[in-house]
């Protein structure tokens, strides 16, 4: 399981965004995880709280949006792929050699927390 490593990298990227915006804390963040990213959303949300402890992300709500795989079929154009069948068009079985989407692993957005009175 490498979700703990991913969670730590996520916190690094998010902390940088907090610094850039002069914010001390985030209350929520959304990440986009592709079906072909090899990251298990449940494992990432499970690993996140412990990794976030003591950072500006502590207590932030993490939402993981799963992005389905999309391929390009020569006959059917853009098709949604089934990860258990590989890069094959679900309608005709033709190979769809490249992933148009579905391999992302990105921090999509952050909700900055209101500064508490004690922080001001």
């Amino acid at each position: 399981m490498h979700e703990a490593s991913i969670a730590l990298s996520l916190i690094d990227v998010a902390s940088e965004v907090l610094r850039e915006h002069g914010a001390a804390r985030a209350s929520a963040l959304t990440v986009r995880v592709g079906a072909w990213s090899s990251v298990v959303p449940e494992a990432l949300t499970a690993a996140f709280p412990a990794c976030a402890a003591g950072t500006g992300l502590e207590g932030a709500r993490l939402s993981v949006v799963t992005v389905p795989g999309v391929g390009d079929c020569p006959a059917h154009g853009r098709v949604t792929l089934d990860v258990t069948r590989g890069l094959r068009c679900p309608s005709c079985g033709a190979p769809t050699p490249t992933l148009v989407q579905g391999d992302e692993l990105e921090l999509d957005e952050i909700e900055l927390a209101e500064p508490d009175l004690e922080d001001v």
Binding site: H2, H21, S27, S38, R88, P95, L107, E111, E114
Partner: protein
């Protein structure tokens, strides 16, 4: 101060951008030194070290090679590889189940890159985590052994989908274990349409020529 509504900031940034940045530095260092770096990944025990031992032995004197090998705890693989006269450096990853670009960068000063043609990066035996981490390699080889089940490529699509070559190892055992070659190749092609596949045995030596051509960068 008056309260404002929570601010939503759109970020859209790759979570592993720091790794990708370091990988780009490694790639530039390899290019500057004229080194072909090859990342080898597989499930535990698929035969990465055995294939590298055989490669170091058979290409000794023809290609100057070295290995950086990741392992959770032991020095065993590096010790095995050194017996063949090549430099082998261990990267102890501790609890981390993959190599990342910073670990590789950390070990590079121990090598004389300018004197090397090929640097093998033996990843930790694991078909999940290494797939996310670019090390700066020129090519990624994913190994699957005849003894581990033909469905692996579809169970671990990301790893196989990032392969530049897929190597089927332990072909000497194929008949004994009832290996379904066509099914395995079909599943590999589903995970990575068109990827070159090399079937070989590090034990018998069958199929090694195609692998050696890949090592030299002459295609699979």
């Amino acid at each position: 101060m008056t309260a404002t509504n929570p601010r939503i900031v759109t970020v859209r940034q790759n979570i592993l951008k720091a790794n990708d940045h370091t990988a780009a530095e490694n790639r530039a260092a390899f290019a500057a030194a004229g080194v072909r770096a090859i990342n080898l990944a597989s499930s535990p025990g698929a035969g990465k070290t055995a294939l590298l031992e055989r490669t170091l032995r058979d290409l000794a004197g023809q290609v100057s090679m070295a290995v950086a090998v990741g392992d959770l705890a032991t020095e065993n693989d590096a010790a095995r590889l050194r017996q063949h006269g090549a430099q082998a450096e261990q990267i102890v990853t501790g609890t981390v189940c993959h190599l990342d670009a910073a670990m590789v960068q950390g070990v590079l000063p121990r090598f004389d890159l300018a004197g090397l043609e090929v640097l093998f990066l033996e990843n930790v035996g694991n078909l999940v985590c290494p797939s996310s981490y670019d090390l700066g390699e020129a090519a990624r080889a994913v190994l699957i052994s005849t003894t581990e089940g033909e469905d692996k490529p579809l169970k671990y699509p990301t790893m196989f989908n990032t392969a530049d070559v897929v190597v089927i190892t332990k072909m000497d055992l194929a008949d004994a274990v009832g290996f379904d070659r066509d099914l395995c190749r079909e599943n590999i092609d589903r995970a990575r349409p068109g990827v070159p596949v090399i079937e070989l045995s590090s034990r018998s030596g069958a199929g090694l020529d195609a692998w050696f051509a890949f090592v030299r960068g002459q295609g699979a």
